[in-house]
């Protein structure tokens, strides 16, 4: 997404000091708000799946969680949706503490306000596409006619019209995942969890699904928490990215900040192979102040990759505008080329090194 994080929009979901430890006696380790170190945890034969995570996700934001295998992404998301009971911490959804919510209220919240898309689709094998998509509505007790009308609508949204009566096993992986997406959209959730939704798909279909996903999100503007392994995917989709390591958050930042200012070597290694033009925005490489003559102006949030052609082709620099349309700086074709070919001093403006590992 091109949008900067929606800083002004209210917080949809936040969590404070969330822990999930597996092992013989997590409670003892975490008693009285203690914060055991990784060594403490390992020495006492526990696994620190999630360690002291605090974060805030804003309304309408796509928040991506990344990290190596086993770093605790799935566990964190399952804590946030309370599929797993955290060992300690607080989770606030619209300001309501989910961990103190009764089972009954939790059922209500999940029925109407949360949705999840699973890596392996989790479709019910004995139901047709239509029945699968209508399933959450059936659980809510909505009558058959209404729910089928709604189901057909979302099936149309994901481009599966005409396959309503197919069974999951008669569909390709990409189509099955569309059904999964349609199913979780059918209830119009406010908060949408996606755990590696495209990892089981081949690269071509994955790309197609990402486009589809962006198209849907443009229309529906959900608050989304998205897990992926794939940095390219994260860059395409994310407002902000959280990098996890051994259960803890290492850095939460925009893709650009991650690349330009990695918090440590782990993050740097993660972003080492990302082409800069894909993440760097005009705002970062612009020269402050207006130029005498400009060929046109572009928002500061535009990524170099998307503007390169235009700016490079023009003899004059381009103006750079902030969110309100005020010109705050300008970029030249040379600055663009510096980024594209990876000339080190191109980052001088921001005062950072390229962060090569």
């Amino acid at each position: 997404m091109q949008d900067r994080p929606a800083k002004l929009s209210p917080v949809k979901l936040s969590c404070r000091h969330v822990w999930k430890l597996y092992g013989p006696n997590p409670d003892r380790l975490l008693a009285n708000g203690a914060a055991p170190s990784l060594d403490d945890i390992r020495r006492s034969n526990h696994v620190g799946a999630v360690r002291d995570v605090s974060l805030e996700v804003h309304e309408g934001e796509i928040f991506v969680i990344m990290g190596l295998s086993g770093s605790g992404k799935s566990t964190l998301v399952r804590c946030l949706s309370r599929l797993i009971e955290p060992s300690a911490g607080q989770i606030l959804f619209n300001g309501q503490d989910l961990l103190k919510t009764s089972d009954k209220d939790m059922i209500e919240i999940r029925r109407h306000r949360m949705g999840m898309v699973f890596q392996h689709f989790a479709l019910l094998p004995h139901l047709t596409v239509l029945q699968n998509v209508a399933f959450p509505l059936e659980i809510q007790g909505i009558d058959q006619k209404t729910r089928e009308v709604r189901a057909r609508e979302v099936i149309g949204l994901v481009g599966l019209t005409g396959r309503e009566d197919y069974f999951p096993r008669q569909l390709s992986g990409g189509q099955q995942q569309r059904v999964g997406i349609a199913r979780s959209l059918a209830v119009e959730p406010e908060l949408w969890f996606l755990d590696e939704p495209f990892s089981a798909l081949d690269p071509l279909i994955r790309r197609e699904m990402q486009d589809e996903f962006l198209r849907i999100q443009q229309k529906l503007k959900k608050t989304i928490i998205f897990i992926t392994h794939d940095f390219d995917e994260a860059i395409r989709l994310a407002g902000r990215i959280a990098i996890m390591k051994d259960g803890a958050l290492v850095q939460v930042a925009t893709p650009e900040e991650l690349v330009m200012a990695p918090a440590d070597d782990y993050v740097a290694a993660f972003t080492a192979h990302v082409p800069r033009a894909k993440v760097v925005t005009l705002g970062r490489i612009m020269t402050p102040g207006a130029a005498a003559h400009i060929a046109g102006s572009l928002p500061a949030t535009t990524r170099v990759e998307d503007a390169a052609d235009q700016i490079e082709a023009s003899a004059l620099p381009f103006g750079v505008t902030d969110d309100d349309g005020q010109v705050i700086g300008h970029v030249t074709g040379r600055a663009i080329i510096d980024v594209l070919i990876g000339r080190a001093d191109a980052a001088a403006n921001g005062g950072q090194s390229w962060g090569t590992p």
Binding site: S81, L83, F118, P125, Q140
Partner: protein
Amino acid sequence: MTRQGSVWLGLFLASLGLALLAPRLPAWALDPPDAILLDMSGWVSAGMDWLVNRATFGLFTVKEATRGIAAMIELPYDATRIALVDGITEGRGRRATTIVPPISWIAVITAMVALGIYARNIWLGLLMGVLFAYLAVFGQWESAMVTLASIIIAVPMGVVGGLALGTAAYLSPRFNRAMSPMLDLMQTVPTFAYLVPILFLFGFGPVAALIATVIYAMPPMVRITTMALNAVPAELKEFSLMVGCTGAQRLRKVLLPTALPDLMVGVNQVIMLSLNMVIIASMIGAGGLGFDVLNALRRLDIGKGVEAGVAITVMAVALDRLSQALAKRAGVPDLRNGSWVQRHPKTTLVVAVIVITGLVGLVMPWVQTYPKEAMISTRGFWADLVKNINVNYYDQLESFKNLLLLNVLLPTKRFLLALPWPWVMALVTLAGWQLGRGRLALLCLALTAFLATTGLWEQAMTTVYLCGISVVIAAIIGIPLGILAASNATAGKVIGGFIDTLQTLPSFVYLIPVVMLFRVGDFSAMIAVVLYALAPAVRYAAHGLRSIPSELIEAGTVCGCTRWQVLRRIRLPMALPDIMLGINQTIMLALSMLVITALVGTRDLGQQVYAALATADTGAGVVAGVSVAAIAIIADRLIAAGANRARARLGMTS
């Protein structure tokens, strides 16, 4: 040879020495002296007596409770019998007049054909038709329908009960932990052991037989249900939570439907086990085909026995194929529309045939009941065949029998019976110590001590001898068959089919041909046991060999191993844990069969149970049954521990 190996060789030689010395040993060493015997059967009898005559649950007595249960089962059973066998009649005995006849043979066959077509295709339908027509044409219809009626009642009870218990075990780990050892015990206690207390509680008759059948057939359903629910993908379980399913919705709409294909495998098991047990339970009044066999065996009416045995086989094959097809079909949803009749053409047809043949049958009796004149009896044929075989091959059969009997069976029996009982206890306990340390040793000691104090030591050792020899022979035949099946695809198919058929047949059936050829005695018992218990030895060996990672075999081939070397150095050692588990299963089947072989006159624990059944002596029956279970548990635990050790040594985690 390893040190362990030499120790055991030494112990074996010592045992041999002791056995040779037996005549000079004091009497107390050979048979546990009266002083240490406990009157367990007396206690059990007294306990049962108290239970039936005096115990109460507060509001009602045990007797009333059993009566209530009996009535609940009797009602649907009677209804099914009326539909299939008796019809509605007025008056008693010979003067009874039929008001509404049972469903005609034509209608039953039509229904079976329709079921076959529904479950798979026209070919299965035709097979079902032929099999059931066989029952009519060869004069087994009425008995077969009695057996079918029992199955029709027992199977839903077993399935529903198994589903309920299995689901409860899935939902509550505590319940699961409590039930698991009970299921273990139910599977190791031989079938007959149930019969005696049930006979006592419910009296002789079809209801007692049905209850025994359900108890016997339910445990696998419980296990499969728990397993199938556990095997539902984690994502689907999370999904069911995320859409906000209540507990009941989760179970009904997500878990059970997803697990359905696996559950159907359980249903097939319940059907086959029910058939097996309904046949055995004819000893406590189930009637039907089992009773015919039993009766024929008792009177040595070979022809009739074979006829009924073939009918059981026919029925078993029909039910097995049908339920397997239904299991495969499960999960295929239907998308029919139209009116009820349009959506259910086969059901409609069957109902129509029932009504029409019922009405037409009133004027044309052959439509209602298959006419006697058109029946073909194979009784004489079988009797002649057996007579011919016995006349022409008597010498060969007899010398074969004597060869094995004199050189293998009898020496082993004499050897085992000559061993002093404290020595046997010590050996078994030592084995337990070697394989599983303290706990297993203690278990072995306790169970052998139990055997010594029941007063059934001799019978127990006879059981060990007969079972042991049968298992060794089954292994000698079965493991090479398994190896062959795993090494060659064609052989695999042939052997697989053969083993499948062996496993479909109720245990009773094996006795018939054996008794025909070898008459009653230990030898016949041994052959019947081997036939019945062969299947797992073959299956597990083949499975163990097949599941070895192919890289391992390739690694061997790359090193230049010959095929024989690959087999001996890589495949067999890797398959050893599986082979051992197969032997374990073989022992369990052999033990459960022993009680049936009591019918042919072996003097073992089975005979004790059978005698107790005849005299309704609960105490003696239960003690003998539990003794068989004790032997089974010792064998089971020792072998399982051995297999685990082999596994650990091979670096495979269990």
